[in-house]
Each structure stands twice: as C-alpha cells, then as structure tokens.
C-alpha cells in the first residue's frame, strides 16, 4: 500500500493544458476557479511535465511587518524529489511553505504547483504545520483528526465513506499510532501528535508534501517512524519539501538543499550539500 495518492481519484491523464509556466495560462485557470474551491470534484488537473513546484521571484510579507519575509525567491522542484529548505529561524522557510499552500498571499511573483496556481489543486498539496497551530484541547480523537485529511476530497455535505475509514485505519497503523486512535488529541505526547499530523497529510493522498520541521523536538521512535514514512513516500514517487534545521542528514536524506537567509536565497558555505540544481 504505497499508493495512497491514487485514492483521491486524480489521475495524470493528459489534459490539453497550457505549457508549464505560461502566465496567461495560469491566469485563465485562476479566472475559472470558483470562489469556494473546497470540493473534491472541482480541482484542476496537473499540467503534464510541469515541475512539482515552481516559484518565481516570490515576494511576501506577514501582515503588519515592515520587511518582506520573502524577497525575490525563485526555485524549481522537479517531481519526485526530496528537497530540504535550510536556514536559521526567521529566514523565511515556514513563510515559503505557507505561501505555497495559500496561507499567505504573495505581493509579487508566481507560484505554480504541478503547473497550476495556488488553490487550483488543494488535494495535491499536503502541509504539515508546526504543532503550535492546532488547538490540542479540542474534543476530537486521533482518528477524527486524521480523517480531516480526507475532507478536501469530500467537500461540503459529504461524509466520510467506508474507503475513507479503511484508508485512515491503514495510515494509523503505518505510523504506529493505531492503538491511540480513540484518544483525545491533547492526551498524546509531542511525538505522537507529530505522527498524527503526518498521518493526516498522508490521508490527503497528495503528490506534493510540505513538511515544516517534522522532526523538531520529537522522541527517537517518532523520528525513526517519520523518517521511514518519508522515505516510503519518496519511493512511491511523491515530492517532499522539508523545512529543517538538521544539517547533518542533508546529503543522506535529500536530493537537494535550498538555502535561505533573511528571506533571500543564500549561497551555501563552501562544503555544504547542494545536490541537484533547483533551477
């Protein structure tokens, strides 16, 4: 069961679409988008041969901040690769991920996910936030939390079906938290919470996964489990972009590294790992 992504029903059928990166094409898609794009059936198909993620001259700011959090960042991540975003705190790693999933509106520049503008293909992008973004006291159990990963396929009014429940069950087992599935989410350890969040990202069945510090402050067992699952995802053809502090595992766990400093691309130090070019 390494093909979680196909459950969503999205196939890579070749739809006649504008060439990758064509700006007019991107605009045309955007104008067709419904105001409420929360619904499985209305997502745009991927552009054949487009990069999993193409960011060009991106500039973005947090509301109320004077300096832009990202200033002129460009990178192109080929489908099926593992890319590390490296940089100190405040360098713009999280901001870049947030802009890609549409949590932050860019001031200028463009972002294309599988050739489509942000928001055209939500189910193809899964985002693992830092743990602090969630109200862990909320009365909901682990199974339900993971099930929210399926909502993007369900949309309004539809309730999870048998396949959804089976999928969630399998994913919980895969991350070793199936016996915690009826626990309220606040009663998990930090590492277990992180695994539950990754489980939700898997449930989404996305082709592009954006992970914000997935191994920050977790126990050894969780670290091992998460690393193994990320490797499996990569082997099944997913694209994985990880914001990380950990410089030691770069060359073993990633195909490429992108360095950020103060919102701009930074030149890596002489012997630093860079991997395949991200241009």
């Amino acid at each position: 069961m390494n093909s979680v992504g196909e459950i969503g029903g999205a196939s890579f059928a070749s739809v006649p679409f504008p060439t990758p990166g064509s700006r007019s094409g991107a605009k045309r898609i955007a104008s067709r988008l419904p105001v409420f794009s929360y619904a499985g059936g209305r997502h745009a198909d991927p552009v054949p041969d487009a990069a999993a993620l193409a960011v060009r001259s991106l500039r973005a700011s947090h509301p109320g901040m004077e300096h832009p959090a990202l200033d002129g960042v460009s990178l192109r991540i080929p489908s099926g690769t593992r890319v590390a975003l490296v940089g100190p705190n405040g360098s713009g790693k999280s901001t870049l991920l947030k802009a890609v999933v549409g949590l932050l509106r860019p001031e200028s520049g463009s972002i294309l996910v599988h050739g489509n503008p942000v928001g055209a293909c939500h189910h193809r992008v899964a985002y693992l936030p830092q743990r602090g973004e969630i109200d862990w006291r909320f009365p909901i159990n682990v199974r339900k939390l993971v099930m929210t990963g399926r909502y993007v396929h369900l949309g309004w009014l539809k309730r999870p079906g048998r396949e959804d429940h089976e999928l969630v069950h399998d994913i919980l087992a895969r991350l070793g938290i199936e016996d915690l599935s009826s626990r309220q989410i606040g009663q998990l350890s930090g590492g277990q919470q992180q695994r539950a969040l990754l489980a939700r990202s898997l449930a989404q069945g996305s082709d592009l996964l954006l992970l914000d510090e997935p191994l920050a402050a977790v126990d050894a067992e969780t670290r091992e489990k998460i690393s193994a699952v990320i490797r499996e995802l990569w082997e099944s053809g997913k694209t994985i972009v990880t914001a990380t502090h950990d410089l030691e595992s770069l060359s073993s766990d990633f195909d490429a590294a992108f360095y950020l400093r103060e919102g701009r691309e930074a030149a890596p130090e002489a012997e630093a790992f860079t991997g395949i070019p991200l241009r």
Binding site: Y38, H122, V125, Y127, I134, D135, Y151, W156
Partner: protein
Amino acid sequence: MSWLTGPLQYSFMQTGAVAAVLIGATCAILGVYVVLRGMAFMGDALSHTVLPGLVAAYLLGVNLLGGAIVAGVATALGVGWLSRRQSLREDTAIGITFTGMFALGVLLMSTVSSFRDFTHMLFGNILGVTSGDLIAISILAALVLLCLFLFHKELELTSFDPTHAEVVGLRADRVRYGLLILLALTVVVGIQAVGVVLISALLITPAATASLLTKSLPRMMLLSAAFASASGLAGLYASYYLNVSSGAAIVLSCTALFIAVSILGSLPTPKATG
C-alpha cells in the same frame, strides 16, 4: 408526582414546557461551539444587540422576531467587518458594537411611556409563550440544528485547526460568519425563555458543564442539551409554583448544575481497583 404532571393540564404550561426544551437544546448545542471557540463574549454581545431590533419592531408594530433577527445578523456581520483588518482587536470591536446597540435599545424604550411592556424582552417569560411564538421558535430551532448537523464537519475543523481548513480551500472566516449568523438566530430563539440580558448563560453554562464531563464533541452536545432542557423545565416549574422570574430561575438552574458538576469533579477520585 401530581406536582409535576398537574400543571401540565394548562395549555400555557404545555407550550412553555415544549418551548423550554427546544430553546434549551438549541442554545446548548450551539453553545458548545461558543465555548470551544472562545466566543463567550461574542455570544453575550449578540444577545444585547438584538434589543434595539426588538424595540424598533415593537414601535413599528411589525414582527418582533423579525426585528431581532435583523439586528442580530447586522451585529454579527458588523463585528466581523470591523475586526477584519486587524487594526482593531475583535474584543474591542465587540465592545463598541454591543454597548452602542444596547444603548440604542434603551433609548428607544425610553420613548415609550409604559416601560413594563419590555420587561419580558429583557428578562424573558417562558409562561407567556403563545402557540404562535412556539411555531416561530420551532422553525428557527430546526433551522439552526439542521445547519449545525449539515456543516458539522466544517465547523469542527475550523474550530480546532483553521490553518488546515484554509489549506484545503475551506475559508475559515466565512464559516465563522455563518456560525455568527446561527448564533444570532439562536439568541432570538432564546429570548422568549430568559430574555436579552441572561441569554448568554444558556449558551455558555450548560456547554461548560458538559465540557467538564466528556472529551467527545457529540457527547458534549448531547449532555449540554440535556442540562439546558432540564434547567429550562426546572425554571418553568419554579416560575409556576413560586411566581418568580422564569428567566432567572432557568439561568440559576444552569448555574447550580455547573457548580454541582464542578464540585463532584474536583473531589478526589476513588482509587481504581485492579
């Protein structure tokens, strides 16, 4: 048991009992979201701001519920709009709107010579619910409960993880507007029982009591509804037998339940065997 069944031979008691249960359940189930999302102040504000709507409708001789709905929905949208740009904190926006609207209501009331007509708006009167009121209450309650049922998935997700909601294209702010409108309708429903001033107790106290007892959202809603309905009936009987204000009696029943559950919960639990 005749003290319990006896009064029910009167039609006003039957109507009152049905209204108490309906109002209690609706307020309490929506109230779970109010409590979990930290919207208690918003609930209190919304209830006060329907007053000018009620009074204006009374003065114009049009349907009171209609006036209240217009005022409530206008407040819900107004506060959302005021605090949208983040230059004004939401609680500040609520404070401004709520006091302004309530003052407008008081001003309008003072233009009428017989102030007494408005005491049932301020403090509720469950014994005065007519069968026409009951139909309106039933329709509104059914509408609110149906919306809560249909959009449970979205309300739940935007409550505990608005970030994920936005990522999958579900606009958390619009869901919030929807919830505020439901809250406005619920307040209007509840005014008949406890009045403008005390309605937020019916939203908050039973839900808070239930939240002490369970960590499951559906169970929390059921318990909350049960507590509020029971309090509604207790208030109705207290009002019948003791001739006290029904709204105050209902709210005090809710408060008593909350205190009882808190005390029971803080007692040292007996050691589990095995």
